[in-house]
């Protein structure tokens, strides 16, 4: 297990090849560091003294060469060292994460996510930094020290001993300071984790904070921790720089001794001047390796603290093994027998109390009871989510806690009340369970060994009642280039059929693009272009800024009328909405957004009665922009005068001619014969737009479009596109019901032998709920054991067994009618619900 290894283990066992290269490079570097010293000595003693110019050139060239090589090697050493560190960090991080995600659920009850995140990111990074140089840095510096030491000895043993005598003092003093520093550092890790937790918690609970305006409360929590960190950091600095000071002080004592004694020896002629210069240089060179050793020492101490804290935090074993040893995974048939099961959490709170329950393969069992009765806990124990210690749960004849994940998960589907939706596509979320089995190398016995085929996914989507949603996602998506290439022409070919068959029936719902008609449900800008800009963006935002477009409007005589329209819109909208600024709700159908109200209110107050010619040009521009983005069908306060509509219609062909002449690729014009890449699939099929996004409008459209798509064999393709819908972080682009359906589909797709539903249909409407129930009653009947924690009791009428729970015990068990006749707790529950 990764977290059990000592820190040095990683430095000594990983990247051994690179470490060897590193050591060789280091030895070479040391040589090239000493070599210039010898050159120095020879330049002074040999070349300068005997006035040998040739020798001077030679020594200087050698000196330069050595310095360059030493620099290059140092560069290589740094790069390799960094790489080794990051490589080990990669292994540590992935290994630690593999361990972390397998830790039991109760562990996460007491471990906030902020602490986990801060361990895997920041804390571990400091360990990585250290490990890269764990071997090289001490090796290089100790070797350098020794080399220079020896060199100094050869020059003058007495001086060498004197100048090295200071180091033992430091070696005694510094660890004492470091120990205090470490204690503070450990506190700092704790405080940083707390800080991560507080911030993490605030972000998860942002809704609650906003609702209660709990800003000062939250800020105070962070302030307190930030203050503690400030304090700790400051005290840490006292020690850290204390160590530096000690070090520097002793270092600067050296030259003092050297000058005193070396100078004396030199004057008395017992020591050559060249040797003294070399000696001084050598002594100076001692400083760097020593400093690096000190820094290494401090880095080592930091890494040790961080590593130890991580080890402590995650020193928990996963509750269930991943794969069986010495046997293949078992194939479960779906019998479950709970015998005398007791489940306790901390402080001996008993959630399940001597529960016994026996379920045959294919049976449908409901667990009911008031909240807190233990029904969800029982379901989760049966789903191998909790490890139990007293009693037994047998699946077929195996004890559940001795089975591995590879035995259980391929055969078990679990749907919680609020299934978690991952950021990604709808499809990725639906196939999550199957994909997990695949990547664990344990395909389910009842399903194919490879990725689920499209038909299988669509069948599942249909069975949970998600098809309409997927269709809508598909129709509302803008195709990527590859898909447009593959489908574009076929979609264009559909348009004619569609119009011929449906244009009358959908007159209320769809506004078809027609070059001769003013489009009430498109913006005024789109009405002029009858298309969209090629490089993307909304025409009503891009166009007003372009001088060429402005010139066109003037030439076409649209400029003044549009500005008048803008002003008219301001006059109608500002008085209507200016008192309603505290609720964005009222701005949903307004052409003026809430944040623009100030600008437009000012225009209203100053110019409401002005004629367009007398407006300042900035106001004219703003009003033009407003007019261009008006959608007359949606913005009810707007009237586009009939003659303006006619003028706009006339300008369409002019505009096309005008632009084709000057910049032929600037716009894509609506054409019945071409696929419109920037428009949605639906708009391309319709060659038009929905007048309203309301659900009734969709219902009408769906009937028409589905019939057509099915006839053209495109239906599944559109659903496939819909499956690629990005659901957003935590699925926030899906409704509660949709998320739930995704969760159920995820479990269904595994074709599980045992299906455990923990109030899985609670947030579905009646129709969807009945639909799921029909699957359980129909196609899954007998194939899967269904264990359902039920809230709505009318859904479990036909179940084979209903276990009624109270305070962790099963108090009644039997069929629906039997239990009603008993007039016991179940009867009470049903009556309470009725």
């Amino acid at each position: 297990m990764i977290h059990k290894k000592p820190l040095w283990y990683w430095a000594l066992t990983r990247c051994r090849g690179l470490q060897a290269v590193l050591l060789v490079l280091i030895v070479l570097t040391i040589f090239f560091r000493v070599f210039p010293l010898e050159m120095q000595k020879r330049i002074v003693n040999d070349a300068i003294r005997f006035r040998k110019i040739d020798a001077l050139y030679l020594y200087c060239a050698l000196y330069l060469g050595a310095v360059v090589l030493a620099g290059v090697f140092k560069y290589a050493i740094n790069v390799i060292q960094g790489y080794i560190g990051q490589k080990i960090l990669y292994e540590l991080r992935t290994g630690l994460y593999r361990h972390i995600v397998r830790l039991p659920i109760p562990f996460y009850r007491r471990t906030p996510p902020g602490m986990v995140i801060s361990s895997v990111t920041g804390e571990l990074a400091s360990v990585g930094d250290f490990l890269g140089g764990a071997i090289a840095v001490p090796a290089v510096n100790i070797l350098t020290l020794l080399t220079f030491g020896v060199y100094m000895f050869t020059l003058n043993p007495l001086l060498a001993v004197l100048s090295l005598a200071i180091y033992p003092f430091e070696i005694l003093l510094i660890p004492m300071l470091q120990k205090r520093f470490n204690r503070l550092n450990s506190d700092r890790v704790t405080t940083t984790r707390k800080l991560s937790n507080v911030v993490g918690e605030a972000i998860s609970g942002i809704q609650e904070i906003h609702a209660n305006a709990g800003y000062p409360l939250e800020s105070r929590k962070v302030e307190r921790l930030a203050k503690a960190l400030l304090d700790l950091r400051h005290r840490m600095n006292l020690y850290r720089y204390g160590i530096k000071f000690t070090n520097n002080f002793f270092q600067s004592l050296g030259p003092f001794l050297l000058f005193l004694i070396g100078g004396y020896l030199s004057i008395t002629g017992r020591f050559s001047l060249g040797a003294l210069v070399a000696f001084l240089s050598a002594y100076e060179k001692l400083y760097d390796p020593w400093k690096e050793l000190m820094e290494f020492y401090q880095g080592y101490q930091d890494a040790r603290v961080a590593y130890r804290r991580i080890q402590e935090a995650f020193d928990v074993e996963p509750e269930f093994a991943l794969e069986p040893v010495n046997r293949p995974p078992v194939a479960l048939q779906g019998a479950v027998a709970v015998e005398d099961l007791t489940f306790e959490v901390e402080d001996r709170v008993r959630l399940l109390d001597h529960v016994s329950l026996s379920i045959s393969p294919g049976e449908r069992v409901a667990l009911v009871g008031l909240s807190g009765s233990g029904k969800s806990t029982l379901a989760m124990v049966m789903a191998q989510l909790y490890r139990y210690t007293q009693g037994h749960v047998y699946v077929d004849h195996w004890e559940l806690k001795d089975l591995t994940k590879a035995d259980v998960t391929p055969h078990l589907g679990f749907v919680s009340q609020y299934p978690f939706i991952f950021d990604g596509t709808l499809k990725e979320n639906i196939v999550y369970g199957r994909q997990a089995c695949l990547s664990n190398g344990t395909p389910s016995a009842t399903s194919e060994a490879d990725e689920p085929a499209l038909e299988e996914i669509l069948r599942t989507v249909e069975s949970v009642g998600l098809t309409d949603d997927v269709l809508r996602f598909g129709l509302n998506s803008v195709l990527d280039e590859a898909r447009e290439k593959a489908l574009g022409e076929r979609i264009v070919a559909l348009r004619r059929h569609f119009r011929a068959q449906w244009s009358d029936a959908l007159q209320d719902t769809v506004e078809f693009f027609d070059a001769e008609t003013f489009l009430d449900y498109s913006s005024v800008a789109v009405n002029i272009i009858f298309g969209y800009p090629t490089e993307g963006g909304r025409p009503c935002e891009i166009l007003p800024l372009r001088p060429r477009f402005r010139r066109f409007l003037q030439e076409a005589g649209l400029d003044e009328p549009l500005i008048r329209l803008g002003l008219d819109t301001v006059n109608r909208t500002v008085p209507l909405l200016r008192d309603l600024r505290d609720d964005p709700f009222f701005f949903r159908q307004s052409p003026i957004a809430l944040e623009e109200m100030d600008t437009f209110q000012e225009i209203y107050e100053h110019y409401s009665a002005a004629t367009p010619e007398r407006l300042p040009s900035s106001v004219r521009e703003t009003l033009l922009g407003l007019a261009l983005r008006l959608v007359p069908g949606r913005h009810k306060m707007v009237v586009v005068p009939r003659d303006l509509k006619e003028a706009i219609l006339k300008s369409r062909s002019l505009f096309k001619a005008y632009c084709t002449q000057r910049d032929p690729d600037a716009f894509v014009y609506y054409s019945e014969e071409a696929y419109l890449g920037a428009r949605t699939l639906l708009e391309n099929i319709l060659f038009g737009r929905l007048k309203e996004e309301a659900s009734w409008a969709w219902a009408r459209i769906t009937d028409a479009v589905v019939a057509l798509l099915k006839r053209e064999n495109l239906y599944d393709t559109v659903l496939e596109i819909g499956l690629d819908f990005e659901v957003g972080s935590k699925g926030d682009r899906l409704s509660g019901g949709q998320k739930q359906k995704v969760g159920i589909a995820r479990a269904f797709l595994k074709n599980p032998r045992i299906l455990i539903l923990d109030e899985a249909t609670a947030s579905l409407d009646m129709a969807s709920q009945n639909r799921i129930q029909q699957i359980l009653d129909g196609s899954l009947r007998g194939k899967a054991t269904v264990i359902s924690v039920a809230h709505r009791l009318e859904t479990i009428r036909d179940y084979d067994k209903i276990a009624v729970m109270k305070s962790g015990r099963i108090v009644e068990i039997g069929r629906y009618d039997e239990l009603l006749e008993k007039k016991g707790l179940f009867y009470e529950l049903v009556r309470g619900h009725g």
């Binding site: 209320d508 008085p575 209507l576 609720d583 709700f585 009222f586």
Partner: protein
Amino acid sequence: MSWSADTDKRGQEPSTGEPTATCELDDNVEWLRKTDVFSSIPLERLRVYALMCNRRRFRRGEFLFRQGQPDDKGYILLSGKVQMVREYENHSVIVHDLEAGAFFGGLALLADIRRLFGARAATDVEVLYIERETFRKILRQFPELTERILDVMIKRIVSMEEKILERHLHECVLV
């Protein structure tokens, strides 16, 4: 919801299809002014209601809402005819015929209830509707309107009860 059978035919039906000099908003205001619930509201406030209303067409035979189902809208009939239908075990009774200008289904604006009647389009119809959420949001903005609107609503409920009581008197004459 027979109390909602307010068939006020004063004034001309504003045209709804062709573009005219008035905008949809002004048009909506006119319709709202003609119903008893909204008629007492000052014009500038009424314009906010008119802004937040939506229009929808139904085909002949379609249900606007069904008996026993939840629905969160109040309706004004703009054109066509709507029948309020009460369904029983094996037959159904037309309780009311509504004509243009009628405001119906308004109880749903006050509370989350299930419909006591169904509303069926007897011809192709167009309605103006407002949703409960919108209605409440406007009341929250202008609390002074609450009293007036509640007054009218309650009067409608009382008059409905009166009608029912009268019918009962006719049916069971002095036991």
